[in-house]
């Protein structure tokens, strides 16, 4: 089944539910609500099996790959959905690829049914020390930590990169909430104070480099997908607006200077989509695949942020109000640029990898 699934059909089902459940008005209203997560939306997603997308079948998942996850993240970006899906995608990848059998059995079903919500540490963050039986330290700026049931934090053990999975309510764990300009997501710094380190909480892979590459690859694709969804959605709604808003006795969409900017944005997004489709099919273990994934992250998050920025300008005055949607997209697009790897960090990696090729 997984191999033969039609991703375009998947797209349609994502768009259908989100289009019905997370309309523009909800998105705009949510941005001022102060909530940490759209609980009801998350429940619906879980109910439809979206949280199970990339979990292996034997653990209650659909066993699909990053290409399917890419579609889902694009759909969530397209409505700026306030759900912590990135943590699920990343945690499922990590645990499925590097977890022991008991770890997989312990966590993958909970990820699949949505009951486990993960705050996944910034890959570029400081590493914790997992050598002892307890762990101390701070994992700063963990995405979606404030609404998470679990954290996946990275550190070192036996000289290797490794990860721990920790319940948010474990003794000694506290979370400092950082509200974001992008109110569709949250950030939290997780402080660990004498937190007991159960042996089974540590994920240690024989080939930690491969796991690190895999996570980088999946993270880049998920964020690039989210941004692609943002870029396409904000451009589409702006084009709609340009077709109805009148100034000087004409719809403003008839002004050539605006048309040319829109055409450039559309061209950039058509290309971005093609790049992403391609990257999502590459093997993360593949050197060229990682180059393209990092490139896609740097390129597509930039394109989307620039499109969203200009869409505010194209809206004119109403674009400056909280009541219209472009700002919701701009804030999310700008955050995507900074998450996991900044553009400059990604490009430095690309240059390194190209030179090593």
């Amino acid at each position: 089944m997984p191999d033969s699934i039609d991703l375009d059909l998947l797209d349609e089902s994502f768009a259908e539910m989100l289009g019905a459940e997370w309309r523009r008005e909800r998105s705009v209203a949510y941005a001022q609500s102060g909530n940490l997560i759209a609980e009801d939306l998350w429940s619906q997603m879980a109910g439809l099996g979206w949280t199970a997308l990339t979990v292996p079948e034997q653990y209650g998942g659909l066993g699909l790959g990053i290409d399917a996850a890419s579609r889902l993240h694009a759909a969530l970006g397209a409505v700026s959905a306030p759900v912590p899906m990135l943590g699920t995608t990343m945690a499922a990848a990590l645990i499925a690829h590097a977890g022991s059998d008991s770890q997989r059995a312990a966590w993958l079903p909970a990820l699949a049914d949505g009951s486990m919500r993960v705050g996944f540490a910034q890959p570029s963050g400081a590493k914790l020390n997992f050598e002892d039986t307890s762990v101390n330290g701070i994992a700063a700026d963990v995405l979606d930590a404030p609404s998470a049931t679990h954290f996946v934090l990275s550190g070192r053990r036996e000289g290797k990169s490794s990860w721990i999975v920790l319940a948010a309510d474990s003794p000694g764990v506290t979370v400092e909430v950082h509200p974001l300009n992008d109110t569709s997501r949250t950030l939290g710094s997780v402080t660990l104070s004498q937190v007991a380190l159960a042996e089974d909480a540590v994920i240690l892979s024989a080939d930690d480099r491969r796991v690190t590459d895999l996570l980088e690859h999946w993270g880049c694709i998920a964020l690039a997908s989210d941004s692609l969804g943002i870029g396409e959605a904000v451009l589409d709604l702006t084009i709609e607006y340009l077709k109805v808003r009148e100034q000087f006795g004409k719809v403003i969409g008839s002004f050539q200077a605006l048309k040319h900017r829109v055409a450039d944005h559309k061209t950039a997004l058509v290309g971005a989509r093609e790049l992403l489709s391609h990257v999502a099919l590459l093997d993360p273990g593949d050197h060229a695949g990682l180059i393209d994934a990092l490139s896609a992250k740097a390129h597509i998050t930039r394109v989307a942020a620039e499109v969203a920025r200009d869409c505010i300008q194209l809206h004119g005055g109403v674009g400056f109000t909280a009541e219209f949607q472009p700002h919701v997209f701009l804030k999310r697009a700008k955050l995507n640029e900074a998450l996991y790897l900044t553009r400059n960090e990604a490009l430095d990696r690309v240059a390194d990898l190209l030179e090593a090729a």
């Binding site: 300009n181 950030l187 605006l258 505010i312 300008q313 400056f320 109000t321 400059n344």
Partner: protein
């Protein structure tokens, strides 16, 4: 603290003038205001703003750039510059609630107001705490300002006004409004038949609704007018000549208003470098990006000084060409520079912090400053309108 300050008497001795301002600021400026005022809006902010205006008034600097004819201190150009330099240097709060009062109202009244209007309303600013707002734009007439539909119907000794305005900064706090309304419906050109009024915001039928902006602040408002009566003596200039008068109002916006903002930004630009010295200033690329902004900032500061010199020579008539070039330089520059800071600061810039009022575009909350930059690229004539004006009016390219 019991010392009194006599700044204006020091004109003629730049050094003493400057020192007196510094001493006064050290004594009179609200303490720690960036922290105290953070997150304040309208009602809570207003008394603080008034108190600060009072301090400035005491030393004759409520309206430092006003000539004597307007009731201002009539400072020579060089001394005006010093005042702004010192206010900036001390990081004094901007009188942002008084923007229209300080800039648009005098630019309008001085050239077009009656003697009685000048007498009454300018003194309300120099001697009182009158807050003004501007009622130009409408939901259906943004960039196409002349398409406005708010109507003013003459009935005896007053006009009856009906309609809706939008993007009125600070209308929620205002006593008066500079209002454009249509007094004649059947006109050949939409620029005809528009008249210019002073509207009392406390008059029956005026309703104000704040608009929340993308920074989360409520600076802009909508104004709804339902059979509002405006006495005929509140008509500015001739009936039907409002469009031309509005050009005076707008020209104030495109030049002078930017001055304070750029000087503050120049100061903030230096602090950004110091703040970033152990982080992004060590990245060779970001460092160059930063350095490249220096030229752009200098360009804008120089263009503004040139405009101010022109204004000094002929205070009632700003060069509209220059002010258009300034507007189209400043807005996009500000947007690119604040975006750069967001990028340079990384994830930290994405953490929400309550906006700090009265800081112009230098709250130093990077994301908030970036979002606010759209006010300059959209409001008061968008980038697109500026480009049309330059191409068609100045360069003679055909419509």
């Amino acid at each position: 603290m019991t010392r009194t300050f006599d700044i204006l008497s020091k004109v003629g001795d730049e050094q003493a003038f400057r020192q007196e301002i510094r001493d006064w600021l050290a004594a009179a400026m609200p303490r720690n205001w960036r922290v105290e005022w953070q997150g304040l809006e309208n009602e809570t902010l207003k008394p603080k703003m008034i108190a600060w205006l009072e301090e400035r008034r005491k030393v004759g600097l409520a309206t430092p750039h006003w000539p004597k004819e307007w009731g201002g201190p009539g400072l020579p150009f060089g001394y005006q510059i010093i005042v702004y330099e010192e206010l900036t240097r001390a990081d004094a709060p901007e009188l942002h609630m008084y923007m229209v009062s300080l800039f648009h109202t005098p630019a309008t009244l001085f050239e077009h107001g009656s003697a009685a209007q000048k007498e009454r309303y300018l003194s309300g600013i120099t001697q009182g705490t009158d807050i003004w707002c501007q009622g130009f734009s409408e939901p259906g007439a943004g960039s196409d300002l002349a398409a406005l539909r708010t109507s003013a119907r003459r009935e005896g000794d007053h006009y009856v006004v009906n309609g809706q305005k939008i993007w009125s900064s600070g209308a929620i706090n205002a006593q008066y409004c500079l209002l454009l309304a249509r007094t004649e419906q059947n006109v050949k050109s939409k620029h005809e038949g528009i008249s210019y009024f002073i509207m009392d915001m406390q008059a029956p039928g005026v309703e104000v609704r704040p608009i929340r902006s993308i920074t989360g602040e409520q600076e802009f408002c909508e104004i709804f007018m339902d059979d509002v009566k405006i006495p005929v003596e509140n008509l500015i200039g001739e009936e039907g000549n409002g469009w031309n008068i509005a050009q005076s109002t707008l020209s104030a916006e495109r030049g002078l208003l930017i001055f304070g903002g750029t000087e503050r930004l120049a100061r903030s630009f230096e602090r950004d470098r110091v703040d970033g010295k152990d982080s992004w200033m060590r990245d060779p690329q970001l460092r160059r990006e930063y350095a490249a902004f220096h030229a752009e900032l200098q360009v804008i500061r120089l263009l503004i000084r040139k405009l101010l010199k022109e204004l000094e020579a002929s205070p009632d008539k700003a060069s509209s060409n220059l002010s258009t070039f300034i507007k189209l330089s400043w807005g996009p520059f500000l947007q690119r520079y604040t975006e750069f800071l967001v990028r340079a600061e990384g994830l930290e810039a994405h953490k929400w912090k309550a906006p700090i009022p009265a800081t112009a575009h230098t709250s130093r909350i990077k994301f908030s400053d970036f979002l606010k930059s759209f006010a300059w690229t959209i409001a008061g004539g968008s980038n697109e309108i500026m480009r049309n004006i330059i191409a068609e009016r100045y360069l003679g390219l055909p419509r």
